[in-house]
């Protein structure tokens, strides 16, 4: 596999995160499992970066790596540089335990997939806020005022929610309370790993709107991980598509959605279920996602790609733009052929505001 050189597309101006050649691997009985394969990606300060991929494409690993919070026994290697608003850049990986503990939640907070079970069932929601404030040596009184403000902004009744035990709240309320908890220390970055996975459709849209609002008000940088392309379409400034533990495409959200350059992204867009699409017109992607222990040589998508030829089997395409000024790129040898050979069937993509 050729190494991925940092290119124009993975670097941005004023990055808050610089992720370089970062891998996550697990030692398993049948071999080393690379669940994130030497990826490079920058996150711009103040943007909402949508990271999209199917289950098992490595997107949760990317999210956890940003906080050096990959679950044991996963190994993270590479360089992740965090540029705080003020102060020196920090190397996240290999930071001593007490220093990473300061950065987590104070500067980089995370909302999990399992939002429904992110609260201790025997503590009130308010106690979680107080605990978080006091372990980070923040004044609890002032912090709780801030928590109340956040909860009201999320359309919750602060007194009611803070005095409740987690089981007394509905899923959507818990989710919003968790977002407030993530923001209580006023972090610069919020990493959200499928935060709406367990919610119904209406509540999902609702939460997305709230996140958008809060991000705009607070100059928050958001890394939003999801498998649901249409969900993030409305929220993200840029989209990065993960396939087989590598980024295969990155670009401004609207451009990726309307003019995807990678065959996988186009197939993903075409396979998105839509209420208006008759079932016979749905186009599932043939084949299966690769196993992390044995990723195909060359371009990892070649076994499923209609454009694949000898070159794709032998040579791993870099994530590069044809034009150095272009901020939209795909890791494909045949970017120029994609548009014609894989037409997009998506009828309508709502313009990103």
């Amino acid at each position: 596999m050729t190494t991925m050189q940092p290119t124009d597309v993975s670097t941005v101006e004023d990055p808050i995160f610089e992720v370089r050649n970062t891998s996550v691997s697990f030692d398993m009985a049948r071999g080393e499992s690379n669940v994130l394969d030497s990826v490079s990606m920058d996150v711009r300060r103040g943007e909402v970066l949508g990271v999209v991929g199917e289950s098992g494409s490595g997107k949760s690993m990317f999210a956890s790596a940003l906080l050096d919070a990959v679950v044991d026994p996963g190994m993270v290697t590479g360089d992740i540089t965090f540029h705080p608003e003020s102060g020196e850049p920090v190397e996240i990986l290999g930071l001593p335990e007490d220093e990473i503990k300061r950065i987590r939640w104070e500067q980089i907070a995370m909302v999990f997939q399992g939002a429904m079970s992110s609260f201790n069932p025997t503590m009130t929601v308010g106690a979680h806020f107080e605990e978080t404030l006091s372990v980070h040596d923040r004044p609890v009184e002032a912090g709780m005022d801030r928590a109340r403000d956040l909860l009201s902004e999320l359309y919750l009744e602060p007194a009611q929610v803070l005095g409740s035990y987690p089981h007394e709240l509905s899923g959507g309320m818990k989710q919003r309370a968790l977002i407030a908890l993530a923001l209580v220390l006023d972090p610069e970055v919020l990493v959200m790993d499928e935060p709406t996975a367990a919610l119904d459709l209406l509540m999902q849209r609702n939460i997305i709107e709230l996140i958008k609002q809060i991000a705009a008000e607070r100059d928050l940088t958001i890394v939003f991980i999801t498998h649901d392309l249409p969900l993030v379409a409305n929220l993200a400034d840029r989209l990065a598509v993960l396939y087989a533990f590598e980024f295969v495409e990155v670009g401004p959200a609207y451009e990726v959605l309307t003019g995807a350059k990678h065959p996988y992204t186009r197939a993903l867009l075409n396979s998105t279920p839509n209420l208006d699409t008759p079932r016979e017109e749905m186009q599932p992607i043939a084949g299966a996602a690769p196993d992390p222990v044995s990723v195909p040589d060359g371009c990892s998508y070649h076994p499923r790609c209609p454009l694949a030829d000898e070159r794709c089997v032998e040579e791993d395409p870099p994530l590069d733009a044809d034009d150095p000024a272009d901020d939209h790129a795909a890791a494909c040898h045949y970017v120029e052929r994609v548009r014609e050979e894989i037409p997009l069937t998506l009828q309508e993509v709502r313009r990103h505001e």
Binding site: L67, A69, V71, K101, R102, R104, W105, E106, A109, M110, F112, Q113, G114, S117, S118, F119, N120, P121, T122, M123, T124, H128, E131, T132, V135, H136, Q160, S164, Y165, H167, E168, L169, S170, M173, L181
Partner: protein, 336 residues
């Protein structure tokens, strides 16, 4: 509301227990009435014993006058028990309630120490095993816990008596206190009482903590894998606090009811234990009563054990909502 309902249920249970005890007295072949009659006839030697006198004697022992109709007998029995009159011990010639009041504290002493130690050791060991899941320590402790948990406590008791008191003479073989010591709160008396309690307590603890440890280990491993533990780590909550407030508390919760019920059941289990150590607690007198056919004492013992289990379960039910917010005992809390 719930508490009232629950106490009402307990009252019904109590009445049922008394009723069953009453029925048992009558149902047992060669029951207490016959036993007393036989005794009197044997000692009197003649057949012309006055039946009214005999019935009065039976009544004074068992609170039941055999010459009256069944419902009167039942009423007499229930009312006297509710007044704390459990009848008269035939063997000891003393009121049963007096014997029980004297014996019960010793049993409670043994069991309290044993249960607290069992759960304390089990919970700490179980939590340590969970945190060290998969290590040699975990595997070794699991094996030892299983092994010890499968040894009946009376076997352990006999082994302990044989080795520690008969062979090495480290601990006293029997009794609750050295003879000749005056009961007082002095250091020597309390020390002597604890010294005598070591072996009985040890046999319960050694064979009991394994089960608690394994349960705790399982619960704690499950807790450690919960999302909120991961979130708490990310929020910067110190590991020690997570171990106690998050893992510990949530893992112990399901064991609370088990804990209270085991208190009740240990009263029953104390029978053989106290016999082995000739420890004059409730169980000791109960077994004596059985071997001497002392029905009133037997019934009194059964009743006390049943009531003990009942009270413990009642306490567990009434207090559970205090330790687990998810179980609510009234309508004061709302869910949104």
């Amino acid at each position: 509301m719930y508490a009232l309902k629950r106490v009402g249920q307990a009252a019904v249970t109590l009445l049922s227990v008394i009723t069953i005890t009453f029925a048992l007295i009558r149902a047992l072949p060669g029951g207490p009435g016959d036993a007393i009659r036989a005794q009197v006839m044997q000692s009197g030697g003649s057949s012309n014993v006055d039946m009214t006198q005999l019935n009065a004697l039976v009544e004074s022992y068992t609170n039941v006058d055999p010459s009256t109709p069944l419902y009167v007998q039942y009423w007499d029995y229930v009312t006297s028990i509710l007044q704390g009159d459990l009848g008269q011990s035939i063997w000891y010639g003393r009121p049963v309630s007096e014997i029980i009041v004297q014996a019960l504290p010793w049993t409670v002493l043994l069991l309290t120490i044993a249960i607290l130690l069992t759960f304390a050791i089990g919970i700490v060991l179980g939590a340590a095993m969970a945190y060290a899941e998969g290590t040699d320590f975990d595997v070794g402790s699991t094996v030892v816990s299983m092994l010890l948990n499968s040894v009946p406590y009376y076997i352990a008791a006999i082994l302990l008596v044989y080795f520690l008191s008969i062979q090495f003479g480290v601990f006293p073989q029997s009794g609750n206190v050295s003879s000749g010591l005056e009961p007082s709160l002095s250091l020597s008396y309390v020390g002597d009482v604890l010294y005598h309690a070591v072996l009985p307590v040890a046999s319960l603890v050694i064979t009991g903590f394994g089960g608690t440890a394994i349960t705790m280990r399982g619960n704690a491993i499950q807790e450690i894998g919960e999302d909120y533990i991961r979130v708490a780590h990310l929020r910067g909550v110190p590991g020690r606090r997570i171990a106690v407030r998050y893992v510990g508390r949530n893992a112990i919760l399901p064991m609370y009811t088990q804990f209270m019920i085991s208190v009740g059941f240990m009263f029953g289990g104390s029978v053989i234990l106290e016999q082995i150590f000739a420890y004059p607690g409730l169980g000791y007198y109960l077994l004596e009563a059985i071997s001497t056919r002392d029905y009133p004492l037997m019934m009194g013992g059964f009743l006390v054990i049943a009531v003990a289990v009942m009270i413990c379960v009642l306490i567990a039910d009434l207090t559970y909502s205090r330790i687990d917010p998810r179980i609510s005992d009234d309508d004061a809390r709302e869910a949104y």
